[in-house]
């Protein structure tokens, strides 16, 4: 055990939880109308609770346990209820408790990201049911495929900190949910302005800082790998934000705070799978591509397809995750400043593997999300009734108001 590595992963765990609570909660909460702000905060908290309980009961085991003959697909239940995890057990140079806790924070933020797709209209009970099943059917298996020794890991698929495991699954989950439950009443004709951009910007700052734990923590040690991961993460965030800002400036004459922070998230989500493998110059480029691609994806989804993925989860996280995961295939090359391809693997090989991973996770997530929603809708309506939507979820679902100034 190395106390320095442990110190950094303990810290990273705190940082990643901080991304969700209050980071993401504020980022999303500010973007909705004031009558729904508490519903978003509440959903982030409730999902945190549920993911934690699922993780303790079966989640950790399903993702990182030994699945025996089914290990290609899913971990077994041998570590259900964290059995076998003692004060002494290690994972590499850090205690297993720390590893499990760090990974749990990823299992928390992924379903929380999906909230952005169905914000302002989904029924609270349906959200809790959906999130629980989605964790079991989408997140935990995919985490096992990529990080738990499953089939993608065996193929040599590279996803350092979750571009695929977290961002593609969340982005696809969100847009499918948005399509199944339908647009918010009034979308896209009525302006549904963020009710509190200062809240969103606050959350964005927290996300940026917390992401250092997300990416640099994924090194699972405190050394050059973590350092480089933090550096490229930061560069991509800055470049993504700057790029989005410049596009808005050029197109509309006025750059917006919403644009800057969205570009930042795009840059962060996109560098995530690559953060352990690439160098600073690649990060500049990845951030620049993220700003561009995610920008145009957002506009296309909102204005052309008119799909109400309300807080733009798919175009930012989904597209960003795909772009980043594929770009690993290129920029990992040591000739491009990367950490280097595995022995005997060519760039084309690696790109192929990355593509297989992206496509299969995308398809599985889309299919499973759709199925889960159908299942949940048999038990409870997915959507609140129209009057509740007009009144706002805060009062209709939680009998509370965000503000009483």
């Amino acid at each position: 055990m190395d106390s320095g590595d442990t110190a950094w992963i303990l810290t990273s765990t705190a940082l990643v939880l901080f991304m969700t609570l209050p980071g993401l909660a504020l980022f999303y909460g500010g973007l909705v109308r004031s009558k729904n702000v508490l519903s978003v905060l509440m959903q982030c908290f409730a999902i945190t609770c549920i993911s934690t309980i699922v993780w303790v009961v079966v989640g950790y085991s399903m993702a990182f346990g030994d699945g025996g003959s089914a290990n290609d697909w899913i971990g077994g239940l041998s570590q259900a209820f964290l059995s076998g995890l003692s004060r002494e057990s290690l994972n590499g140079s850090i205690p297993e408790s720390v590893f499990s806790m760090f990974q749990l924070t990823f299992a928390i933020i992924t379903p929380a990201l999906i909230i952005g797709g169905f914000a302002e209209r989904m029924r609270f009970s349906a959200i809790l049911l959906f999130s629980t099943i989605w964790l079991l059917v989408v997140y935990l298996p995919v985490a096992h495929w990529v990080w738990g020794g499953g089939w993608l890991a065996q193929m040599g698929f590279l996803d350092f900190a979750g571009g695929t495991v977290v961002h593609i699954t969340a982005g696809v989950g969100a847009v499918v949910t948005a399509m199944v439950i339908g647009n918010r009443k009034g979308f896209p004709k009525t302006a549904m302005m963020p009710h509190n951009m200062t809240m969103t910007v606050t959350g964005a700052g927290m996300l940026w800082v917390g992401w250092f734990g997300f990416n640099a923590g994924s090194a699972l040690s405190a050394g050059g790998d973590a350092g480089m991961a933090m550096l490229v993460t930061h560069i991509s965030a800055a470049t993504g934000a700057f790029t989005w800002m410049m596009i808005e400036w050029i197109r509309f004459g006025k750059p917006s705070a919403l644009g800057v922070v969205t570009g930042m998230v795009a840059g962060l989500g996109t560098i995530t799978p690559a953060s352990g493998y690439v160098g600073p110059m690649a990060a500049l480029l990845i951030g620049f591509m993220a700003g561009n691609l995610c920008y145009f994806a957002t506009m296309y989804l909102k204005q052309t397809l008119k799909i109400d993925d309300s807080l733009d989860v798919f175009p930012v996280h989904g597209i960003g995750g795909m772009l980043g995961t594929l770009s690993v295939g290129v920029f990992v090359a040591s000739s491009l400043g990367g950490a280097g391809l595995a022995e005997g693997v060519t760039m084309i090989d690696q790109l192929g593997v990355q593509l297989v991973g992206v496509v299969s996770v995308l398809l599985w997530t889309a299919l499973a999300t759709w199925g889960i929603l159908k299942l949940v809708s048999l038990i409870v309506d997915l959507r609140v009734d129209e009057e509740s939507e007009i009144e706002g979820l805060d009062l209709s679902s939680h009998e509370e108001k965000g503000y009483n100034f």
């Binding site: 302006a191 919403l258 909102k302």
Partner: protein, 112 residues
């Protein structure tokens, strides 16, 4: 008695108050309203879509006065609130049958 109601541009409030003060009017009530009229509101961008916010923040001032003060008050408001651009606002004159001061129960002109 009359109730003079003026709808003006918010940043002109202080000027109007001073102008009224100068002609001896020291009591009034104000609140924020939104106006629709000829003046076009600002636009806001959201994800590349432009939304015209068609209401304009205005300040509404209500002044209860004796009939003979009406002209002076109206003139003072016009002078101090005018910028000459569309949206400078309106003044409405409404009849007021009585005014009572809560603290003393005085009524009529002496209540103002």
């Amino acid at each position: 008695m009359k109730l003079v109601v003026a709808i003006i541009k918010p940043f002109k409030l202080d000027d109007v108050r001073m102008a009224l003060s100068d002609i001896g009017i020291n009591g009034l009530t104000v609140y924020e309203v939104k106006g629709f009229g000829r003046q076009k509101g600002h636009t806001e961008l959201y994800r590349g879509a432009e939304y015209v916010v068609d209401y304009i923040p205005k300040m509404k001032i209500e002044i209860a006065i004796e009939d003979e003060q009406v002209d002076a008050v109206v003139d003072a408001i016009i002078e101090s609130a005018r910028t000459g651009k569309i949206g400078d606002g309106k003044i409405f004159i409404m009849p007021l049958e009585n005014a009572i001061r809560v603290r003393t129960s005085e009524s009529g002109g002496s209540a103002l």
